[in-house]
């Protein structure tokens, strides 16, 4: 089996959080969908709550403290990303945005990304399309067509048969297909020079 990595970024604040619950369902579905395509997906889940102070410190000092550095390296090196935010005040949460503000601007280029969100009611569902999708389009990620939104009501339905579950399965399949058609991700060394000094002098 091909070996690939999936990084799940969950921006839920409460513990336990419905955002994390959705993230876990998406990553389990992605592992299954990938296995059907002969890919073993290794999953790393990043809870942004644990990194909230580090993210603020990075914004203020310009460098990531140890744990955040590991998270950023994991995202940069991932073959696919699942990004899940709660919807706050008509958009992704500030913490979610702050994390992607400190991700290197080229780290997500051509990387398959599945976007998902949670909120109290379904009225917030289009925030995925007007906020998260443009954010990842800007970062030149390949966002799969199906985004997954879960409101409180969705958790009441039987998750094995509900509308939410069918979207999760479809989105996970789209993500697995994108992973399948790509070579494993490579990370550019920031210390590797791409031009010779003689050329710079010209």
């Amino acid at each position: 089996m091909k070996q690939r990595t999936l990084v799940v970024v969950a921006a839920g604040l409460s513990q336990p959080s419905s955002t994390r619950l959705l993230a876990d369902q998406l990553s389990a579905a992605a592992v299954t969908a990938a296995a059907e395509r002969g890919i073993e997906l290794h999953v790393t889940t990043i809870e942004l709550r644990d990194l909230a102070h580090d993210i603020t410190n990075h914004l203020l000092t310009g460098f990531p403290p140890g744990a955040l550095k590991q998270a950023l390296d994991a995202v940069a090196g991932a073959d696919a990303v699942i990004a899940v935010s709660p919807i706050f005040t008509a958009s992704y949460s500030g913490l979610f945005k702050s994390f992607f503000d400190v991700v290197d601007k080229d780290a997500l280029v051509d990387k398959p990304v599945l976007i998902a969100a949670t909120a109290g009611t379904a009225r917030h569902s289009l925030a995925l399309e007007h906020a998260l999708r443009p954010l990842f389009a800007y970062l030149r990620a390949v966002v799969v067509p199906t985004s997954v939104f879960a409101a409180t009501d969705d958790w009441g339905a039987d998750s094995a048969e509900g509308f939410l579950q069918s979207r999760i399965t479809r989105a996970a399949a789209e993500l697995a297909t994108e992973v399948d058609r790509r070579e494993a991700a490579t990370v550019t060394d920031p210390f590797a020079l791409t031009v010779s000094f003689e050329d710079l002098l010209k």
Binding site: T56, T61, K69, F197, L200
Partner: protein, 364 residues
């Protein structure tokens, strides 16, 4: 090995008293601090260049010349000289002048500056930051080495039959360091010319500094200036000391918490762990500083940031006393004992003159 201090020249409110020194006070204080650096036995005083508040140091050569006149041994340097927005012709002339006035006690550190708006103030474009640093330095390098220069580039008017005056003292250009926090191109530039490379070190994790120095050393060897461990490396450092380390922590915390750059961000404990900042006893500073060698190799210059974040003059002078009396003598001895013979010291005017004289004797 050379030890000294570098100042960013900030005018900052003392968070413990709410008092902000005037520019005049800080300018007079910096002269006192530099003179005291010599008194306590330090080798180098380096001053930053800024053209915006809350910094006072817009004219480093003026300040350094005034200090030179009141000191005998102290080596005067910059941290940094803006190679992007200064005209290289003026840098060539100003620092050659300072070289003569100070009888060769001058070197300088090139940098690109820390603020975007400075570029248009001097008619430059920040998007050309790196190309400016490269072209301007290429011209400066030539002006100090060739008597009559014909030159054409992208960023300033061409020169025809131009001689920058005065000529460098004894026809020996001041030694140049290239300072950078994060740009591999600048490490490459330092390596290309066989100049020194100074890693700011104090604002970023050690792992980052390690990679930059590694790159510089490899490229220094690539360009044929010697083995990687013969490259000329300088490091920044940031310390606050009291005899009892808990006293140091207690006294420095309000300054840390409110400091420009990192204030209101990470805790002092976090920042101490992630960067070379050391707040504690002189022995802790000695141990931490000796540890720098473990990840950058044998290096030639260690500068400490001492006067910043609103620390009062009296405190800064006390810190210099501790540095000069208790820390640097131990560091000198320990670093010297560890350094292999084939690793050179940082070039000075005296060492460059001796090398030049020896070379001329051989060829004569």
């Amino acid at each position: 090995m050379q030890f000294g201090i570098f100042s960013v020249s900030d005018v900052t409110t003392d968070p413990t008293t709410g008092r902000t020194p005037t520019e005049h006070e800080r300018i007079k204080d910096i002269v006192t601090i530099a003179k005291h650096a010599e008194e306590v036995g330090l080798d180098v005083f380096a001053l930053g260049e800024h053209h915006n508040e809350p910094f006072f140091s817009s004219s480093p050569t003026t300040t350094l010349a005034y200090i030179a006149a009141q000191t005998d041994k102290l080596l005067l340097s910059t941290a940094t000289t803006l190679i992007t927005t200064n005209d290289p012709v003026k840098i060539a002339e100003d620092f050659a002048m300072l070289q003569h006035l100070s009888s060769g006690r001058v070197d300088l550190m090139m940098g690109r500056g820390n603020t975007g708006p400075v570029y248009p103030w001097f008619g430059k474009d920040i998007r050309a930051g790196i190309p400016l640093a490269i072209e301007n330095y290429a011209l400066l390098h030539k002006l100090w080495r060739e008597h009559v220069v014909d030159w054409q580039g992208k960023f300033r008017t061409p020169l025809q039959s131009f001689t920058s005056t005065p000529r460098p003292l004894d026809e020996i250009p001041p030694f140049v360091w290239h300072g950078s926090i994060r740009s591999p191109e600048i490490a490459e530039q330092a390596a290309f010319y066989g100049d020194g490379f100074f890693a700011n070190h104090i604002f970023w994790p050690a792992s980052h500094t390690q990679r930059m120095i590694e790159l510089y050393r490899q490229r220094f060897a690539h360009y044929g200036h010697g083995d990687p461990d013969q490259a000329i490396v300088g490091l920044g450092g940031q310390v606050f000391m009291r005899k009892n380390s808990q006293d140091a922590v207690k006294e420095f915390r309000p300054y840390f918490d409110n400091a420009p750059v990192y204030g209101h961000g990470p805790s002092m404990e976090d920042f101490t762990r992630e960067t070379p900042l050391t707040v504690g006893s002189p022995q802790q500073v000695i141990d931490r500083t000796l540890g720098f060698r473990d990840y950058v190799g044998d290096y030639q210059r260690q500068l400490f940031l001492m006067d910043h974040a609103g620390l009062p003059l009296k405190t800064v002078l006390e810190q210099l006393d501790i540095l000069g009396d208790e820390v640097v003598p131990v560091l000198r001895k320990e670093f010297a004992a560890l350094k292999p013979a084939h690793v050179p010291d940082a070039p000075t005017h005296a060492s460059l003159l001796a090398a030049k004289t020896a070379k001329e004797k051989v060829s004569a």
